[in-house]
Symmetry: C3
Subunit: 475 residues, 3 copies
């Protein structure tokens, strides 16, 4: 094995490149590197943590099969998703041999050069599993063996990793109709890890969701409220929010193609809702109804104190062929131009000045950051800006984000960091990247005489830890 290329993972990575900046950045980073991780938004399966003996599957299961952000890159170069073992629709035959899948992945790992996914995976290999070789066609099987052996060991059980990663709190994202049985099991197990749910009602407030009527039936059952009209629907949602809050939730989350908000009259909402119950609503109805429900969710947030999150501006399942074969979350979600200034105006006008309301907005349209979101967050007391989301959770994405928002919004109007991932072992890596890049950015301000070291230390600490904790009411 000695002739194969070693992985280089410099201690000062992502800092600099100016040597003076690097030195200051290192000082700031040393101060925050070991702070506990605040993980207020993500998609880790709570099952991992409810079962104390949960064991990850193969290295392929762990690193890319469930992660469309990774396998999309191989698909983009013409590698069929079937060959990567991505599970598909009934009747679709996909490769089952994980050694073969892993080999194919390793042979094409060069596709990830310079990408955040490449960088995360490399660091996971090194820092979580102690791999010391580059992942290539040659080294693939040895590394497969090595990781497999790790995964067999008790210290690689998710709960042990949770502790080793120094996670202070981890929020999952859960359907509004979920029983939260895994969360209950975690709480009742006596294990002290803080794992909390997040209330996500997308599939109920978007009338176009496939199976919407069945979802309403679930909601009815979960809330024990008979939903035959709009008032019942609202009551059931309020019921579920109360339950989530009881189970530790501090936030809800919403996704939609746009951030359009509008307040309908009770009669309009009722009319649309009844049409939907009969399967007779129009496309326009669905847009209006979601826009109205965002207003309702804000109202409920004012009342119950749950933080409201908005993840909008994305065309889901852009690729019909892939959607039909592999379902959703298969790599074909593509961002779209956004307009927050006008879309959020009704919601911010009604609730944005309310001391009890907290709204965190995420954007995949960088053009909106400096132009719209930073000025909005620098004015409305309720608004905080979420960190770079998805494709932007990268070295240059984070740097640009800070350049676009910090001067206008000020740091205290940011919601810190969250890694928004379903890849559990990547969590500490992503926080580490964020901490390095933000410390380096603050160091740049020191070096240019914008802030002094006293302020810089506070800013680095805020970005690494305190802003997220405060924004999500996790104190």
């Amino acid at each position: 094995m000695s002739l194969r290329a070693k992985i280089t993972l410099p201690a000062d990575r992502y800092l600099g490149p100016d040597p003076a900046q690097k030195e200051i950045a290192q000082t700031l980073y040393n101060q925050v590197a070991n702070l506990p991780l605040i993980c207020p938004h993500g998609h880790v399966d709570p099952r991992l943590l409810s079962d104390p003996d949960y064991q990850f599957g193969s290295p392929a299961d762990l690193l890319f099969i469930p992660d469309h952000y990774v396998f999309r890159m191989l698909y983009s170069q013409g590698i069929p998703m079937e060959k990567l073992g991505i599970p598909g629709a009934d009747g679709l035959t996909v490769e089952q041999d994980h050694r073969k899948i892993w080999q194919l992945f390793a042979e094409n790992f060069y596709l990830f050069r310079g990408t955040p996914t490449g960088l995360w995976i490399t660091q996971e290999l090194v820092q979580v599993f102690g791999v010391d070789e580059k992942l290539t066609a040659d080294s693939a099987q040895d590394i497969f063996d090595h990781i497999s052996a790790c995964l067999d060991r008790p210290e690689f059980r998710p709960r042990r990793l949770f502790e080793q990663f120094n996670i202070e709190v981890l929020a999952t994202t859960d359907s509004a109709t979920d029983s939260l049985a895994h969360h209950r099991a975690i709480r009742e197990s006596g294990w002290p890890g803080r794992v909390i749910p997040t209330f996500r009602p997308d599939d109920l407030i978007n009338l176009n969701t496939p199976g919407w009527l069945a979802n309403i039936a679930c909601l009815s059952q979960a809330s024990s409220i008979d939903i035959t009209n709009y008032a019942g629907f609202i009551q059931a949602l309020e019921n579920r929010r109360a339950f989530f809050k009881e189970m530790g939730a501090t936030a809800g989350d919403h996704s939609a193609e746009t951030a359009y908000t509008i307040e309908l009259s009770a009669r309009e909402a009722e009319t649309i809702f009844r049409r939907a119950l009969k399967g007779q609503h129009t496309a326009a109805d669905a847009v209006q109804f979601t826009g109205h429900m965002f207003m309702e969710m804000a109202r409920m947030s004012v009342e119950d104190g749950l933080v409201m999150q908005l993840h909008t501006g994305i065309v889901r399942n852009h690729n019909d062929y892939i959607f039909e074969r592999f379902g959703r979350d298969a790599g074909g979600d593509i961002p779209l131009r956004n307009n927050f200034t006008q879309n959020l105006r009704p919601l911010l006008n009604k609730y944005g000045n309310h001391p009890g309301f907290r709204l965190i907005v995420f954007s995949l349209d960088e053009g909106t950051l400096a132009r719209e979101l930073a000025p909005l967050a620098g004015h409305y007391p309720a608004l905080r800006l979420g960190p770079p989301w998805w494709y932007y959770d990268s070295l240059t994405g984070i740097r640009r984000y800070l350049d676009y928002v910090a001067e206008t919004a000020g740091l205290q109007n940011l919601a810190g960091f969250n890694e928004d991932t379903r890849a559990f072992p990547s969590i500490p890596i992503r926080h580490d990247v964020w901490r390095r890049v933000t410390c380096n950015w603050v160091a740049g301000l020191v070096l240019r005489g914008v802030v002094d070291m006293e302020d810089a230390r506070e800013m680095a600490h805020d970005l690494a830890y305190r802003l997220a904790k405060r924004a999500y009411k996790l104190d």
Copy 2:
């Protein structure tokens, strides 16, 4: 006082961070640092300069009460504007104790870390008032005393500061119906400071302005022209432009939600105008009429030589609650996506090739800079690009602006710098920031072998002084 934190204001601030770049930048900066200030666009109250004994109020009056760009940040963190002494609508009780207000400001001054407002205020404290401590809860009252003592002294009268700041010319922004009495007083006082008005007819050409009919009555009175139809309206505007020009104006200025331009027929314009006189115009009428009036203003500019400025792309008074309590200019103006390529086409097609016409366009939508405005300015002889406006008049805003526009538009199609502020003592600070950042940017070109030092010196001088002077016909 010795244990409290001192302010650090490095002589080489905002230069670098690369040491070689910093050295070249310093050479360029030394050459332009003391050039007189050209201030062709801003919102200083001419009253300050018409009364030789004008005295600023308290430190709070001076630094943030009239400056929504500053107090919005405190409001965004939930500090009520009433507690900051921001004057509101009739019947609204606001804090009157300026020591208390100042204390609250100082306690929250950390919110401005890394922001341009924080940086300007800090430099004003140091450079204009000789403060040597950081503004904190501890130092607040001492600094209040210190500034108050300064303001009592004759050298802090606005005219003395104007001279000390080395202002060559200062343009104010004045309603088209203004008597320009303060400007007249300045001219007749024998004081040699050059202070000139700018013709701003927004409240006349936007039919939706609250009180539009009263504004038309003012215009009628100011111009001694009876305005009963569109032709009278046009004649009255021409009359006022002539008056402004007589009083030293070299430019007019216009703001609107979009840069939409359209040429209506005389009959269409007449029809809309008459509907407006009866209070019967529609929302569409207002849009068309403003678009048409931009064309008319361009025509008048061709004829009278006044430079035409456009500040568009902003939703004014986004927050109804704040607007109702505190009126306009209260922090709730939010930028909007823009489209200059199509919106300005009618105007540029009709007047953009005319040698006598000069149009200066500002944008709050950075996406339009490289994509639309730089190519337009690099083609149409009439067009110059205004400097970064509002939220973008910052260290990274200026740097991005230069990167976005300079390669395509060329430096000679830029309008140099203007600080667009109502905060008089911040003027030299803002020019200094611009000069430092632009010199640093030019130094980057030298260091990368793009231009030689001979060209660099010309570029630095152009950016600091000559471009603004030429663009606004101030020679």
Copy 3:
């Protein structure tokens, strides 16, 4: 001449500025500096290379008269295009004295400080013609003499320059109805230079093209197919594609105001086409028809393997006055906001997963790069991203492009570089700029610990040479 300013052209230009980054960049650059040039898209006139004795005209003919990207800058400062010798409409008198024109150009060459055009021209003067003085009013006539003398010499014939530039392949852009006589002459001449055509049917698929009916007549003649209906039109286009392919083409190219695509039924397409044949189509017809023809071109690409290129998002001939006097390509083409996510969806849905299809998309709207095009290219197997186009083929344009796309799309989904120029002698300069800037960017990744030198060498090589060759199927 000794007192006049010399040109400085540092060997390490565009690298750095950080010294450590510069050193790594230089290592990477040394490895790629002399690789052959792949030129898969451009506008060089094949006539230059079909006639072995072709001689360029005057220095003005060579450097700016045919290049609207250059002369627009002088026009933007009020220099009439007539005085620059730009040929115009019948009856327009333009300056014919090329020494006078050249003098005017030289006097105003300072306008190009810091611009890519300035930098290209300077490097052409130095590297292609051995000029050692800056171009100024003083040096203008001597440099004119010097270049004229060069152009008289046999080594400045285009074929000799082609060899000296080390061009491996050069694609021209040719009307779909072109006889390709010059390409045939090159092939039959025995000269080994590889010059290939590109199929460009814009003037046939855009129903609003002036003279569209005459173009259809040309197509009919060129294909020997009688075009009386839509089916004949399609057949004729397929016929011409086959001919272009026979003549060496590996790609087609398309330009339009937007990237809108839509699949019409055969009957709808037929109906619109027949209306157009009678000159009775509407504006909406033209939009639908172009959108449909993009789909058809994709279908043909799947079948014949020609790579499909899309250059969209531009308002052509924005300035009526200039268009009427100087026709198209006269400096008035202005970019426009784009939306690829929704516009390309029909086309990518139908063909984007097809292994035989290759689509290369270019954008002048930088906002679409990170937001839309990188995610699309990082998912659809058919899609590659074209390099920075037009105004963005610059030092900062290239750097921003890489920052916007590389992390999300990955390098292998990029189409490398092409210089898209009609200025033949600028070709090696533009490739050199690209190679320097990309090596410097990769060096930045090495320095920050993102990739190691082994990966960096591969990335630099890919960007300089291999990606373009692969994307355009030039292997």
